[in-house]
Subunit: 243 residues, 2 copies
């Protein structure tokens, strides 16, 4: 029922039980498949073409640049995630999107999306739900940076990413592949790369998580959950709410 469809459909199906017609409409959104090389921005701040993407494979990050040259990574996206919803709805994109690895994604234009909403209003509710879930993650990220120290922050981040990947079948409680550099982590967590390195070492020495060679390994999952006060509640993953 779900497996033959895209990760995106699977994700929306977690909120709204979708009919075959609705699933079909979603599949149509995937007609314009494109490939992007790592590191060249797919969307940049100020861009006027209002297009967004649904990520099929690879990893990307969305970020904002500051005049001083520093940047803040707002979120990482994984397969099944919607990229740049705000750049479809807004006049110009308000953030950048950069592929971390080679990426495959389907381009979605504003009109396609609005047409789909007209045909199947329940899809609008489902997309709204997905957007809200993304916002919940940004909110938790905000709490992370505002009120947790570097060590808890790092642990919390690694757990959250793990939970998301697990949902699309790309990880488990043992660990997952994570092609992020310490610089990327630093830009995401509001830390310096040097401090990221020290914090990772501490977490490893504490026997909680290790992050090496592009792999995250949870040495003591429960211990890490406790240490970081991780509550997966905000990810809201428990079967469709709208029948």
């Amino acid at each position: 029922m779900t497996t033959q469809h895209t990760p995106f459909a699977r994700k929306l199906g977690a909120f709204v039980a979708l009919s075959p017609e609705e699933l079909g409409l979603l599949d149509q959104l995937h007609s314009r498949r494109r490939t992007f090389p790592a590191l060249r921005d797919m969307v940049y701040e100020g861009q006027v073409e209002r297009s967004a993407y649904i990520l099929a494979s690879g990893r990307v990050c969305s970020y904002k640049l500051l005049p001083g040259g520093t940047r803040q990574i707002v979120d990482f996206q994984i397969p099944g995630d919607f990229l740049g919803l705000r750049s479809v709805l807004f006049r110009t994109a308000d953030h950048n999107i950069e592929p971390i690895t080679r990426v495959q994604a389907s381009e979605v234009q504003a009109q396609d999306l609005l047409d789909a909403f007209n045909t199947a209003p329940r899809l609008a509710a489902a997309v709204l739900w997905a957007a809200s879930r993304d916002e919940a993650m940004v909110v938790e990220h905000l709490v992370d940076i505002g009120r947790r120290d570097a060590k808890q922050r790092m642990g919390h981040f690694l757990l959250e990413l793990g939970a998301r990947l697990k949902l699309v079948g790309l990880g488990s409680s043992d660990g997952y592949n994570c092609p992020l550099t310490q610089y990327l982590l630093a830009d995401a967590l509001g830390l310096s790369a040097v401090h990221v390195n020290r914090v990772l070492r501490e977490l490893r020495e504490d026997g909680l998580v290790s992050f090496q060679q592009g792999k995250v390994i949870f040495s003591d999952f429960d211990g890490l959950v406790e240490f970081t006060e991780f509550d997966r509640h905000y990810l809201d993953h428990e079967g469709p709410l709208m029948k």
Copy 2:
């Protein structure tokens, strides 16, 4: 055309040019008007009644509590803002909402909203836009906390709030009423109340802004915009995009 309708309708109208029927539907959402005293939470984390509100008057903040007793304020809401969209769409609320002053708000139940979407799909797009705009503010808040120092952060925050209030007619480039304590500012900006006080003094002594007796006064608006590198772009306020 806009003035006889609610601030909420005015806000959505900034994105979608709404028909009289659509405006009528929006007005119907305002049937269950309620009043809340200051300080008692309207929505709390884990709450199961899935209801949200449209704020008519007063000020509220939404926040998350941490086990240690600290809290992070995610956003302040002003009249015309939607409160707790995520608590309608999610199984349980993932955050708290507290009135800062006495508040008047219209209760909106999940079904009301979904029914309105069914009748007028363009409303769904408009609400999605409003949600995206809220997310853009959270994102900017994240950048604030992650990458700006306390002084820039405070100035940026005061400018953003001013821009939002101006839009609903509650402020100008000279200043605005701001019933927030330094403790609230601290919880919002990820600082200690003591440091908030020092930073406010510095900004005042620099002749940029003053914050006293519940009033924000921009002594040098342009100077502050420059100092904080404020770019109002992300608020996306420039007339309807969908005709």
